[in-house]
Symmetry: C2
Subunit: 280 residues, 2 copies
């Protein structure tokens, strides 16, 4: 695996592979890799001639009060994991190379980013779509892989790609979970033992929603109430939001719509904000 630090160098490599008629699979990450990331890497490997992974903790998607500085990092371990997967190129740029002095250009998706994570984190998605635009221009992938855990991110990026005519296929892959059901996340590292135990509440509430829908309940308010009850049984967790939206436009739904429903929630477990979701 070759590690590339300079955007222009990564772009030259991408150009070469495109000229050779090879397909490029790309997995953008913020590092501190877990099995969720690795599932994306495996899929990229399987379906493309060459696999690029980026590790970049992107400052523009963190608000000043958020966890940019303490975001977990372990580049040696990440390198090792990516080598083991047979990744061809790791793009690992510095903040200065990605955001040089005088940086002032942003990509924004408007409507889809007003709700859910965007309502709780108003500048977050502008940072995401800006850095993903940059990464796409640098790595020129045929396919890029994102986890469904960041459901809104996936939907927003698909819209951006469609609207700006990026020549890349966006592939969304299932959430990977710990044995008790907790969705894998680099932020799980922040949890102490008790918090880690109670963090399962997000999954439990989604399981409840799934059960209710399987049994025929389609009223969104009823489902959300039951989810809320589950979480309130725990000591530490505090709900930020529980929401049921259309997948197409992220509009709040009153009734579950088959193949067009996203049930999502954000919960503070201690100081750590966790998210999880279910696609119906």
């Amino acid at each position: 695996m070759r590690i590339v630090y300079e955007p222009y160098e990564m772009q030259e490599i991408a150009n070469k592979y495109r000229e050779w008629g090879k397909t490029i699979g790309f997995v953008p990450t913020m590092g501190y890799l877990h099995k969720g990331h690795l599932s994306l890497v495996k899929e990229a490997k399987k379906n493309n001639d060459v696999t690029f992974v980026s590790i970049f903790v992107n400052p523009t998607q963190f608000a000043p009060n958020e966890d940019l500085d303490k975001y977990p990092r372990d580049i040696e371990r990440d390198e090792e994991l990516l080598k083991r997967e047979g990744v061809d190129f790791l793009f690992y740029p510095t903040v200065e190379n990605m955001y040089p002095d005088g940086f002032q250009t942003y990509v924004s998706v408007e409507n889809l980013t007003q709700v859910l994570e965007g309502a709780s984190r108003p500048t977050h998605f502008r940072g995401v779509t800006t850095v993903v635009s940059k990464l796409f221009n640098i790595t020129k992938p045929h396919r890029a892989y994102f986890g469904k855990k960041d459901a809104q991110q996936l939907i927003v990026i698909k819209k951006m790609v469609e609207n700006l005519n990026f020549d890349v296929e966006i592939v969304g892959l299932p959430i990977v979970r710990e044995s008790d059901g907790l969705a894998m996340s680099s932020r799980n590292k922040y949890l102490n033992k008790k918090e880690r135990e109670e963090a399962v509440c997000l999954y439990k509430s989604l399981q409840k929603a799934k059960e209710m829908i399987d049994k025929g309940t389609d009223d969104a308010e009823t489902i959300k109430q039951e989810m809320r009850k589950i979480i309130e049984k725990y000591e530490i967790p505090k709900i930020d939001y529980i929401s049921i939206n259309s997948l197409s436009e992220l509009k709040e739904l009153k009734k579950i719509e088959k193949d067009n429903t996203l049930i999502s929630l954000a919960v503070f477990v201690g100081k750590t904000r966790l998210i999880d979701n279910l696609w119906i």
Copy 2:
């Protein structure tokens, strides 16, 4: 010359040429072509294996009170002119293909767009950078050609390309003028005979600035006053702005800086708003 209407088709053609290792020169236009546009086309032809021109009157760069509906169009004549220049592909999309229902993604350059044209036309550059991003993703050029007449546009696009890592070289070419000095513009068509005569005031005022600088004047305020006097001698023209800025950041200058000065102005000649400029 082949005419392509569909973005995905244009993109496939661009991919083919890139795979064949051919360089693509691209000239984005709003049509109603004049010698200014054709100078860009000639330069693109000269330095690239294949030349793409787009004609698209981009609605997102016009404010509701501006001249989108009456913007001059003559596609037959444009086609003829481009054929004569030996253009390989004309990309001529519909508004519906470029901005389908649910379109909501925009590219914005922040600081550089707050002044000059951006101050007079607050949503203009967001429309420009958005459509140019789309066009770059669709046509995948190695080099793209813009006129210096839209000086701020050229500077803003260069910043966007640099900030978002677009893999394209931006080439800026000199203003092409009528025999009396009026800068070529599709909007000159709006002028009646008397207005057309008086429209030369923009050039005359820039000539005066040039003379003063050549003779050693470097005080921006003095130069602007003299430019103002020239224009005020005419009957119809009304000044929107006369400004002297750095080329690097478009900051207002008190003193002329060699190789870093843009003298620019916008003037209403009747209902028609004309712009012109001088790079020092």
